[in-house]
Every structure is written in structure tokens, then in C-alpha cells.
């Protein structure tokens, strides 16, 4: 277990260094980093100090090391557009994005898994065909369009739900939550459905494909030959084997959702990191872009690491031999 964990951890660190290098390049190849990190009204003394603190007179690998060191301390400089420390901006926006992404991921699992199982077990039924066609429409609908249509129907025409913002939020320490007020929950409905649409269809298709694959295996045939009930075969044997690869994709998908939230947040003017990022792209606000990239990278890597560990717990084969579980 320890060797496995250390190996994975090392890989994660390498990925983070790669992401950090891209972020570092953003700074260095898109103009004068000193100008980027300081507000325009900064004095020459300020500039020299920053230049020195950045070690810009040093060779570039030393600069990179300094960048990494600053990054580890959460220091990504000052937003060009808002004139405030980037880390502060991100911390403010983080809860909104995480609450949205978590809710969407939960929707994906709670709806996607049962639908996937159903369409795999009753593959020729009429309902399954409707689900499958529906899922194709689901992946063909651009995320922002789903949001627009939902706003048009439920906010503009029916007037049931708000179309933008987070509603009232409650501040708990650093964390601002929308879960505790009625308006916060109402404001969450449409964005969560919009963002959850893709994971629902993806998880459904994935569960279906994996389950069909598993149902063809010899051990399922043998389980039937042993006279086990359908329930035991499908939910005792097939489902567990199906969910092993599904865990990975869903885990990775959660990371994707946080990045994907950029679109949903723009449509619903949801005050999360994604909205901050898109505004940064429009204004070429490099410090915010770099910091967002590093943060997303970090979230991805952490999730990957957790998924690997979970895999390890679920699949006994990994615990003994080091064989990787490929070939699906």
C-alpha cells in the first residue's frame, strides 16, 4: 500500500510541476511579468523590489523554483483587472463553484447509475431506447444552450426560479454556502441541472456499456449456472464489477465539472471561479488565468489520487500484484 501510494504521489507531483511550468510560461512569455503582477500605478522602487523578489536576474530554472515556491504559498500576484491578490479572489469564489459542481456530480450519480443499469438490463425495452436517444440529445446539446432553454422556460415564461446569481448565502468562516437559505437553494436548481446534464448522460452511457461488457463475462455466466437469483447476479456480481471503472471516470469527471462550470457560471452569472476565469481570459488577466490553471490542476491531481486509492480498496487484485487494470 505504502509503495503504491508513494508512487502515485510522485506522479501527482510531476503532473503538478508540469501544470506549474505551463502557468510559469504564461507569465514569462506573455509580456513583462513585473508589469503583470503590479498595479499600473506602482513606482519604480516597487518594480525593482518585485523584480528582485521574483529573481528575474537569476537563470530561468531558478525563476521557476521561485514561482513554485510562491505558488505553494498561494502567492500568484495581483489581478490586472481587479487589482486584488489573486489567491484572495479565488478563495472567495471557490465555495460557489464547489457547491455547484458537487450538486451536479451528485445528480449525475443518482440519476445516471440507475438509468445505466436499467438500460443495460432491459436493453430492448422501449424505455431504454428513449433513454439512449435522450442521452444522445444530451451530449449534443451544448451546455450553455441547456442553460438558456431552462432560463427561458422556468425563469422567463413560468417565472418559477431565478435565472442568475446565488440567492442569499450564509457565511460560515471562510465558506459561503447557499444550501441554508430558500433563495440559495432555488437559485441552485437551474445551474445544477444545467451542469448535471452532461454527467448524467455520460455516467448512464458508461454504466450501460460497462455492465453489458460485464454481463458477457464468464463469471457472470458461471454465477447464473450456480443458480443465483437474477437479483444476486445483477446487483451482487455485475454491478460491483461495473462500478470499478465507473469510479475512475466519475472521479475524473468531477474535476472536469469544476472546469466545465465556467460555462454554466457564465450563463447564470453564478459568482464562482469559472466566471472569474472567463473574465480573466477576456481581459488577458494572466495572473488569474495562471492561478486558476494551477488550482484546477491541483484539484484534478488530488481527485486522481483519491480515485486511485479508492480503486485500491475496491479491487483486491491491485493489493497483491502490481498489474495495472487496463484492457477495458
Amino acid at each position: 500500500m505504502l509503495a503504491f501510494a508513494i508512487r502515485r504521489l510522485l506522479q501527482s507531483v510531476l503532473v503538478m510541476l508540469a501544470v506549474g511550468f505551463i502557468a510559469f510560461s504564461l507569465f514569462n512569455f506573455t509580456g513583462d511579468p513585473v508589469a503583470l503582477m503590479l498595479p499600473p500605478e506602482a513606482t519604480q522602487a516597487d518594480r525593482d523590489e518585485v523584480r528582485k523578489s521574483l529573481g528575474l536576474d537569476e537563470p530561468s530554472y531558478v525563476q521557476f523554483a521561485i514561482f513554485v515556491k510562491n505558488g505553494l504559498q498561494g502567492n500568484f500576484g495581483i489581478s490586472l483587472r481587479l487589482g486584488r491578490p489573486v489567491s484572495q479572489l479565488l478563495i472567495e469564489r471557490l465555495p460557489a463553484t464547489l457547491e455547484l459542481a458537487m450538486t451536479a456530480a451528485l445528480l449525475g450519480l443518482l440519476i445516471g447509475i440507475p438509468m445505466g443499469i436499467f438500460t443495460a438490463l432491459k436493453r430492448d425495452s422501449w424505455t431504454s431506447k428513449v433513454f439512449l436517444t435522450g442521452s444522445l440529445i444530451g451530449v449534443s446539446l451544448p451546455n450553455f444552450l441547456i442553460g438558456i432553454f431552462l432560463i427561458l422556460i422556468f425563469a422567463v415564461w413560468l417565472g418559477w426560479l431565478p435565472s442568475f446569481g446565488r440567492g442569499d448565502v450564509t457565511q460560515i468562516g471562510y465558506w459561503s454556502t447557499g444550501f441554508l437559505t430558500q433563495s440559495g437553494l432555488k437559485a441552485l436548481v437551474l445551474p445544477a441541472i444545467t451542469l448535471g446534464f452532461y454527467p448524467v448522460t455520460l455516467i448512464m452511457r458508461l454504466v450501460r456499456a460497462e455492465m453489458l461488457e460485464v454481463l458477457r463475462t464468464d463469471y457472470i455466466k458461471f454465477a447464473r449456472a450456480r443458480g443465483l437469483t437474477n437479483h444476486a447476479v445483477h446487483f451482487g456480481h455485475a454491478l460491483k464489477n461495473t462500478l470499478v471503472p465507473v469510479i475512475t471516470i466519475t472521479g475524473l469527471q468531477l474535476g472536469g465539472l469544476i472546469a466545465f462550470a465556467i460555462i454554466t457560471e457564465t450563463v447564470f452569472q453564478w459568482p464562482g471561479m469559472g466566471l472569474l476565469f472567463i473574465q480573466a481570459v477576456q481581459f488577458a488577466d494572466i495572473p488569474v488565468m495562471a492561478a486558476y490553471l494551477c488550482l484546477i490542476g491541483f484539484i484534478f491531481v488530488s481527485i486522481n489520487l483519491m480515485v486511485d486509492m479508492l480503486y485500491y480498496v475496491v479491487d483486491p487484485r491491485l493489493r497483491v500484484d502490481r498489474a495495472t487494470l487496463g484492457g477495458h
Binding site: T217, R226, T229, A232, K240, D315, P316
Partner: protein, 343 residues
């Protein structure tokens, strides 16, 4: 071998079809055979001859679109081919066990063998979990797993291939069935381990009084294990009879060719014979006898009968063979036994 008045398993005129876009494929065409209690019936044939499908049909595990299109399967005096899902499920594992080809893939990799054994036992027998576990350990000991009480909590990948097949056998025996369908139980194993598994299967069958339908393409395995043997060709039974008779005095030209193709120690033939051509595809089974395009004796039967009329199983020597050479009413057959082979 005494044959009781009612056989344990009777298969009558079984026909298995696969509807495809280009028409219906008949994979098993009108076959009939019986297995007596405690008897080992070997079913031998090339791949695609329909052996495995016949086995799957008996336990109701034909995979769609395959379907039973005709005939009856009678087990213990009761018809089982038309049972509802729940009824046939209760027979599977309890009355009829099964062992498949590949022990590496027959066990669910995510569960311990103990969990797979106890769930099977608890499904069929009214035992508490502790009793089921005790029985599971006994079963593992019986199939020769050392330190069974410890090994029971291990996962399949922690066992070798031969050991896994022993576990599979213990699973098939878990509820003490009357019949076991063993579909190529040794094909995936090393040669040295094959013999052990066959010996084990034979011993357990004898001790428990379990009949075995042993499906294989390996005539050697049949010779060692079976009481009787059915030779299948292109979805039909070519010859069926006591194993020693079929091996030493085969009556169907296909069986004769098959026996001639098996090497043996002390073989006094100069070279192995072989059958020219290959088994027809299911889409192109010739009219009359399915073997006629490859048969060296096809001209020994008058009036092109072999290419026109399909032979049924006819008494031939001490076996029964689906060959017009043995139709004593239609034509004299004298020369057939000159091809007798010693194995």
C-alpha cells in the same frame, strides 16, 4: 453398467436455432441422448459441432438470440426445457451444476472464494451463514485445496489455474447436484494439471453419485473418464455408444477418421490418418448426411442416398451410428469393420 428404467436426463429431438439477418442457423439439429444417474457421458466433437450449446440448453443458459426450437429435455422425469425463469434457476446449481472451460475467468475477481461458495450454498440449501461456511470449507478440502480454512478468505487471483478449477468444481458441487455439465473443464489448464482435474472429477462423481456430461474435443480425456460417448458433427450426433466400443470399434466413417487421427503409444500404424476437408459452416450444411462431402465411403451406398436423405442413428456393432452403411434393411454393409482402429 446397469441402466435404470428412467434415465436421469433425457434429451429428445433437441433443435437449437439462431435467427440471423440472413436466415435461421440450425446449430443443433434433432439430437437425442440419455444420461443415467451416476453415469459419465462424454460429448466429443470439433468446435462448432454444437456440444457446448447442447450443454447450455440443458441448464437453460442458451444466450439469446439462440433458442430451443424443438424437442424436449426431461430431467428426473420432469420436463425442464419449457420452465419459467425462476423454476429453471432453482434447478441450476441445485440439481444440475456446471463447470466451464476457463477457471481463470469463471470466478468473480472482486469476491473471496468463500463469499462465492457461501452465497451458492445459501441460495439452495436452508443453512445458516456459519453452517454454509463450514460446508464451504469441507467442500474446499474435498476438492483438495490445502489449508482450506485459511484459503477460503482468499481472492481468486491468489490461486493457481489448477487450484482455481478445483474451486470451480467445489462451487458446482456446492448443493450436491445430481448432474454436472462440464464444458471443456481442462482445456485451459497445463497438461500435467489436466490429469489431476480429470481424476478429481471422476472421483467426486463416483463418491457423490453425480452424473457428468463431459463436453470436450479431447478424445483422450473421454477415454479416461467417460462411460459412454456421443460424437457430434455439424450439430448432429454421428455416433453414440460405450466408450471402449466407440474407441476401438468405431462405426461411423467420421468417428473412424477421428480415431485414426489420434496418436497413441505403441501405435502400429505407420502414420496418422486424417480427414480431408473441414466441418461445414452452419450456413452451408449439405443435404443428406452432413459428413458426405468428406466421407470416403459415400459411394458405397447406393442411389446417392448419403447426399439426399439424412441418416438417423442406427444400431451398428455395439454402438449406434448415423450412417446409411448400417441400414441393414436398405443395403448390406459388410466392409465397415475393416477400418477398426486400436487406440
Amino acid at each position: 453398467m446397469t441402466t435404470p428404467s428412467v434415465p436421469l436426463l433425457q434429451v429428445k429431438n433437441l433443435r437449437i436455432e439462431f435467427p440471423t439477418r440472413r436466415g435461421i442457423l440450425v446449430a443443433v439439429d434433432d439430437i437425442s441422448f440419455e444420461i443415467a444417474a451416476g453415469e459419465v457421458l462424454g460429448v466429443v466433437g470439433e468446435s462448432g459441432a454444437g456440444k457446448s450449446l447442447t450443454g447450455a440448453a440443458v441448464i437453460g443458459l442458451l444466450e439469446p438470440p439462440g433458442r430451443i426450437a424443438g424437442g424436449e429435455i426431461i430431467f428426473n422425469g420432469k420436463r425442464i426445457d419449457n420452465l419459467g425463469f425462476e423454476d429453471i434457476r432453482k434447478i441450476r446449481g441445485r440439481e444440475i451444476g456446471a463447470i466451464f472451460q476457463d477457471p481463470l475467468t469463471s470466478l468473480n475477481p472482486l469476491y473471496t472464494i468463500g463469499r462465492q461458495l457461501t452465497e451458492t450454498i445459501e441460495t439452495h440449501l436452508a443453512l445458516t451463514h456459519t453452517q454454509a461456511r463450514t460446508r464451504a470449507i469441507e467442500l474446499l478440502e474435498e476438492v483438495g485445496i490445502p489449508a482450506a480454512a485459511k484459503r477460503i478468505d482468499h481472492y481468486p487471483h491468489q490461486f493457481s489455474g489448477g487450484m482455481r478449477q478445483r474451486v470451480v468444481i467445489s462451487l458446482a458441487l456446492a448443493a450436491n447436484p445430481k448432474l454436472i455439465i462440464a464444458d471443456e473443464p481442462t482445456t485451459a489448464l497445463d497438461v500435467s494439471i489436466q490429469a489431476q482435474i480429470i481424476t478429481l472429477l471422476k472421483k467426486l462423481g463416483r463418491e457423490h453419485g453425480t452424473a457428468v456430461m463431459l463436453i470436450t474435443h479431447d478424445m483422450g480425456v473421454i477415454a479416461e473418464t467417460a462411460d459412454r460417448v456421443a460424437v457430434m458433427y455439424a450439430g448432429r450426433i454421428a455416433e453414440i455408444g460405450p466408450v471402449a466400443e466407440v474407441i476401438h470399434h468405431p462405426q461411423h466413417p467420421y468417428t473412424i477418421g477421428l480415431m485414426g487421427a489420434i496418436p497413441s503409444v505403441g501405435d502400429n500404424h505407420e502414420r496418422l490418418s486424417q480427414i480431408d476437408g473441414s466441418m461445414p459452416r452452419l450456413t452451408a450444411i449439405p443435404a443428406g448426411c452432413a459428413f458426405n462431402p468428406r466421407c470416403t465411403r459415400v459411394n458405397d451406398v447406393a442411389n446417392h442416398r448419403c447426399t439426399i436423405e439424412r441418416p438417423s442413428l442406427l444400431p451398428a456393432g455395439k454402438t449406434r451410428a448415423a450412417c446409411w452403411l448400417h441400414d441393414r434393411l436398405g443395403q448390406q454393409s459388410t466392409a465397415i469393420n475393416q477400418h477398426t482402429v486400436t487406440v
